[in-house]
Amino acid sequence: MRHPLLSFVIQRFGSGLLSLVVVSVLVFIGTAMLPGDAAQAILGQDATPQALSELRQELGLNDPLYLRYWHWVAGALQGDMGMSFSSNRPVVDVLIPRLINSMILALSAAAIAIPLAIGLGIVAALNREKLLDRVISMVSMWLVSIPAFLKGYILIAIFATHLGWFPGLAIVRRGASLGDWANALALPVATLVFVTIAHTMRLTRTAILSVMASDYILMAEIKGLSPRRIVIRHALPNALSPILSISMLTIAFLMVGVVVVEAVFSYTGMGKLMVDAVAYRDLPLVQACGVCFSLVFILFNFTADFLSILVNPRLREPKA
């Protein structure tokens, strides 16, 4: 009998890996089915058939599809994801700094949004059907419904144009100080917080309410424990597992948010890079961005799942 935690990790790791393979195959086949190919793109429309076929030979484009996929994967594993058409630089060199920028943006937003959302969710649940809960629910519904770019522009209109506290464009130069970073990122991060907070808050509220309806909460009350201890020691730990395991959607919201917010604030992150690459049809770059986003997404989900198992004794501890 294997330990449940270990078998879970192996299973989820396997399925994460499988997802990644599926993603890469989709991306690769999608690109390979295109009319025109890398050789055409490099040499341009006026290239002679002779030159084209030579370059194809050289690039290995005449190999069977599975072999080309294998070369592509092998290259990617060694950090070689091909050349970007539009900038004529290795994709990895273009990608890495942008990835770092996006991670800074997304993680700062998550660091604020997650505790805030869980806190507000608990407050709403404890004041169920009272005024405060209704206000929180109403505001969260509005936040879900307002497009991310509108949130961004409203914040710009108030805090950049009207009050002049923060810049409306998040342009950070290399070697900027921490203060400069914070100043430039204030509005994009705030926008992202608003994009992600509503969903997590609603999940938390539902999870807490369903836990609060359990018999063991009733038992804790009958034992004479204080309301505070009941919520913090008895309800919250049990609500954590469902909150974490459904947080996949929250992470997806964060991804959409990153792409849109970077466009609103002209922030040089991976989202903007990918959108521009789509517009230029710079396929190696699109491929790389797609795989990279998916990888981050899969990693986040794996972590969320893993943590949700870790905080749930019923899944963590073997039965007998």
């Binding site: 499988l18 599926v22 993603v23 519904m141 419904s145 997806a252 396929l283 986003f293």
Partner: protein, 272 residues
């Protein structure tokens, strides 16, 4: 009956119905053609151009009304098709189980392993940006989400003993779908339809805002925001009107869902 309708529900329904009417009768409602150049670029709102003019001097109100057509039309079409697909697949998977269920489940899982917007961007890059590609991509994405929710609910229903009673009686697939499962699935389905409709309108707007959705000279509401982004960043508010209309659509749809979910849960409590 009427007394049980809350004000916010009545408001939500009226907003959606009003916007839908405007979209359907756009040629009669819009003061000008959306393509007609009326005045200088970024003209301020006045009696002739109620919302002012855009970067090329076209009437912003007229463009917003026609943009609404795109946004509502695409969202409705996508949601209806995706919902139908999702329902059929979910019930089939829940009743048949076995390899059918596994296959559909795996396919949905792999699509959901890629963040939605990233999936859309990849497809649009590979297949090229066109209305057909946009609509098909959105249908696939929305159908997977419909499937996820409905498969879970249909699975709960299929695990009930009355389904076993039907099996013992030797009923056929269509009986399960239309007599046993769909009537019990209906509340979840309606609520999910509203949520997905709101999401679809936000999603197409986001794509157009990013410049990979509806292409100029046509524009949906998201595209209008993109076209006029410059004016917004110099402090003009009128170009944000299309963005507020998107928000109104989504808020109204979610408002109807909230009312419905609330009413349904009260109903089910009284029923038991």
């Amino acid at each position: 009956m009427i007394r049980r309708l809350s004000p916010s529900f009545v408001l939500s329904i009226s907003v959606l119905a009003g916007l839908a009417l405007v979209a359907v009768f756009a040629p009669f409602v819009a003061p000008y053609s959306p393509a007609e150049i009326r005045a200088a670029p970024f003209g301020v709102p006045n009696a002739e151009n109620l919302l002012g003019t855009d970067a090329l001097g076209r009437d912003l109100l007229s463009r917003t009304i026609y943009g609404l057509r795109y946004t509502l039309g695409i969202s409705t079409f996508v949601t209806v098709i995706a919902c139908t697909l999702g329902v059929v697949l979910a019930i089939m998977a829940a009743v048949r189980k076995g390899w059918v269920d596994t296959m559909i489940g795996r396919a949905v899982d792999s699509i959901m392993a890629i963040p939605q917007i990233i999936f859309a961007l990849i497809v649009l890059a590979v297949a090229g940006i066109s209305l057909t590609t946009l609509v098909c991509t959105m249908i696939v994405l929305e159908a997977t989400l419909f499937f996820r929710i409905l498969r879970a609910s249909a699975g709960d229903i299929a695990a009930m003993d009355f389904i076993e009673v039907a099996r013992l009686r030797g009923e056929k697939l269509h009986w399960y779908i239309f007599r046993e499962i769909l009537p019990n699935l209906a509340p979840t389905l309606i609520a999910e339809f509203g949520i997905r409709f709101a999401y679809a309108s936000l999603f197409i707007s986001a794509l157009s805002f990013l410049g990979v959705g509806i292409q100029p000279p046509d524009a949906d509401l998201g595209g209008l925001v993109r076209e006029n982004a410059l004016a917004i960043s110099i402090g003009r508010a009128a170009p944000l009107v299309p963005a507020f209309v998107i928000a109104a659509i989504a808020i109204a749809a979610n408002g109807i869902v909230d009312w419905f979910v609330h009413k349904y849960s009260i109903r089910s409590e009284l029923g038991q």
